[in-house]
Symmetry: C2
Subunit: 136 residues, 2 copies
């Protein structure tokens, strides 16, 4: 494989990562959890007060598996023809939001799930580590 | 949230899933592994004889973590304006390819990594389970 010498891998700061997550035109990410073997679920997400928030349906595998678990959350964006792009990985504990005030705030967010189902449960991941890289 | 009643979630067969993986215009997927906590790495992939193949660099975290491990591999494609798309999840054991004949075959594949680095190690995931769904 011949690789252009102009390809560069740039590490992104936490601020840069959170900015990319917040401004993604298509807010879809992937949650990985160990159940105990790895699983990945695509989710529509929103960044709220520095945390990743997404919705689940009660009783689903994701919903059952995720409460209190340490998870990984990944978002990427690629520009196919130019072979460039970025990816961000957030890791932290996933918690169901049960506080009434907080739920009220979350329900007012533009956080829609494309998949059918009520998805009335809100889960938030408070980032313990945030890492990202960009290929330029 | 008001959801159109025309939104439908369709389960995909294994054949449909493998067909989608094989024909993806942008062959980038995400590998999740438990280390023991979940991690996600984006990878350029290729479907070869029914297996997922990707490349790693010797000594990287992905390279060290992945040998013989059970992993999840996810690919999705979305059409943002229409809120439709599909996702496929493959699960199985990841093995480094060391057989000379097989390596020769893999090296002739159009499998490039966008990230810099030689990425001389080939890893294959033989699907144990394949599941997919499409939102239409």
């Amino acid at each position: 494989m011949v690789m252009s010498e102009r390809v560069r891998l740039e590490k992104l700061s936490r601020d840069q990562c959170m900015q990319l997550l917040s401004s993604h035109p298509v807010p879809i990410g992937r949650i990985a959890l160990a159940d105990p073997r790895p699983l990945i679920f695509p989710v529509n997400y929103h960044v709220y007060e520095g945390s990743i928030v997404f919705r689940t349906d009660h009783g689903t595998k994701l919903d059952r598996a995720i409460r209190g678990e340490f998870v990984a959350f990944e978002v990427d964006e690629v520009v196919p023809n130019f072979h460039i792009g970025w990816s961000v990985l957030v890791r932290g504990q996933a918690k169901e939001v049960t506080d009434e005030e907080e739920l009220k705030a979350l329900k007012s967010l533009p956080l829609r799930s494309w998949a059918p189902g009520e998805k009335g449960h809100y889960v938030r991941v408070d980032p313990q580590t945030v890492a990202g890289r960009r290929i330029t």
